[in-house]
Subunit: 354 residues, 2 copies
């Protein structure tokens, strides 16, 4: 299979973990006989420094021609004081919108070797295996008006949704649930928000097309509680952009494996952008100690969702599990009686295990 991949390393540890993911993709393409071509482009703070904008035109153009995109991380204290249109995060929001990546998928599953690092009691977190499906290009983060009044005395942001934006993300969630344990929790604030009422209606409508999936509605405040008290009750969670932002980050710390979590942002035709859930970690950038596993697992999601290469995706995931089983870990993790290794060594170990 021939595929063209755009790499957006971004800021902080982005470059290091991207190198790791590329090495693993090379190992996979050698072994399974694929041919991947790569092109690197700038995004985030590094793009601000080099081109005066967090999302250069060239980057957008390159991404539009790609079969899939890998992104490292954006942001850092260096760019924190810039006016908002120059903030590295605008690059991320911009590329999501430009490419129409409306569906953010975040699988969260504990690795048994790392469960001891969970803030939750073992009996609470045990067996947790959930997928958060977050709408990514609508709602409060993109609605207009989003501005201050002329006299500076008031401010407004707008949460707006088209019915069809809700329909496509809800469908995506039903399809995802069908491939898993067939349980879908739709999260909203339907007792207060009009947008949530429409959301709930759409879920009820779509439910008829997926009679094999059990659907539950949950208010966002209750969902924030239940994620902590009973995370294993969830299978697939679907929710709008902002609720998804908050809940997926909350969920990401439950299993003690934040440094291990990948994410996928998809368009209807399968093109997707894949990035680790963790940030750019400027404090450890350049020190060759960053954990590359979330980026490597993001590459696995790319193989699965954008290229349909299920076997290859599983090969990577199993290689990561095996490496952890042998006790190898990076500095952000701890495995009892394990051995600490750097970014490159970890990458080599995973590549060998494939």
């Amino acid at each position: 299979m021939k595929k063209h991949i755009v790499l957006l390393p971004g800021d902080g540890i982005g470059q290091e973990v991207m190198d790791a993911a590329r090495a693993i993709l090379e190992a996979v393409s050698d072994q399974f006989g694929h041919s991947f071509t790569y092109q690197t482009a700038d995004i985030g703070g590094v793009a601000v420094d080099l081109h005066g904008t967090p999302l250069p035109e060239d980057t957008v153009r390159a991404c539009k021609k790609a079969d899939a995109i890998l992104l490292g991380a954006v942001g850092g204290p260096k760019w924190d004081q810039l006016p908002s249109h120059l903030r590295p995060e605008k690059g991320l929001l911009g590329i999501r919108k430009e490419l129409g990546l409306f569906a953010n998928l975040r699988p969260i599953k504990g690795f048994s070797q790392l469960l001891h690092a969970s803030p939750l009691k073992e009996e609470v977190v045990k067996g947790s295996d959930l997928l958060i499906v977050r709408e990514l290009t609508g709602g409060l983060y993109f609605g207009t008006p989003s501005e201050r009044s002329e006299d500076g005395q008031s401010v407004v942001d707008t949460l707006s949704y088209e019915r069809k934006e809700i329909e496509r993300i809800v469908e995506k969630a039903f399809q995802s649930a069908r491939l898993r344990r067939k349980h879908l929790t739709s999260v909203d604030k339907a007792n207060v928000l009009e947008s949530s009422k429409l959301w709930r209606e759409v879920v009820e409508e779509k439910k008829k097309d997926y009679p094999d999936v059990i659907v539950q509605h949950l208010l966002v405040d209750a969902a924030a509680m239940k994620l902590v008290t009973n995370p294993s009750q969830f299978d697939v969670i679907v929710t709008e952009n902002m609720f998804g932002d908050i809940l997926s980050d909350e969920a990401s710390v439950l299993t003690g494996s934040l440094g291990m979590l990948p994410s996928a942002s998809l368009r209807e035709d399968g093109v997707g952008l894949y990035e680790p859930v963790h940030g750019s970690a400027p404090d450890i950038a350049g020190k060759a100690v960053a954990n590359p596993l979330a980026m490597i697992l993001s590459a696995a999601l790319m193989l699965r969702y954008s290229f349909g290469l299920e076997e290859e995706a599983c090969a990577i995931e199993e290689a990561v599990e095996e490496t952890l089983k042998y006790g190898y870990h990076t500095a952000d993790l701890h495995i009892v009686d394990g051995q600490r290794v750097g970014t490159k060594e970890m990458t080599r170990l995973v590549a060998e295990a494939i």
Copy 2:
């Protein structure tokens, strides 16, 4: 001291826990020589049933003349299918708005006897003692437009704030921090939302008037993580309405004492509405087993915040702690080697301890 208190028992277990709070207030006023008068009014589902609206005019009128208000709980499956203007929650939103109760204060502290019920590991939750200050009458839950388009194909909600609405809640938070450990965390999404940028500016401005308070800004997604991984790092958290809704519910399950948590909703002049954080628990309503302690502790907050009766408030809080120390608990809790009691017995025990 003479004070007039309006009681809004509401739905489910609301009446039972309200009876308990009133009994405790009687015990306090006897002992300390105060004279409290009471008036009961309807709100929520029971008001829908009796008057066709979740917030009758009479109730608003009574509350406007009160020195303080105690509320039990609203809502239940019986009213879940009603059109949105008849939902019990509208009564709650309505009374907050009518009375201008802009500051919601939620103290969250573990009781050592109950910490074992926390979903968090003991070493993670130990020492947690935080206060969430939530803006309660602005933002997305009250902004207009909040409606569906005529063709039903799109929907909008509006997050709007006046600068002075932000100023007064931020001041309240700084004042609260000053009475505690002098650490304030302001939560926003300033990397995306215009309203959050104004919010952050106001916090930076007000900070100059409180040089003794240490201020930290945190993005809402990061806050949702840190509440779980490191709850004891927080002292006072201040945030806007919706973020506060989600984060305060998330925080409420951390210490294993959800049935114990009170809340206060205040106006500038000290008038306030006090209610337990837990809901109406329709499944156990009328069974005389409901835990009255959150309602009783809400009455203590009323004495402190609305009446300035610090000694009396402490007397109630200490009586509750003492009762737990003797091992008495209701069915929702468990204390090792303790004794389970009903609502009335628990109330009697607390009254005796005062």
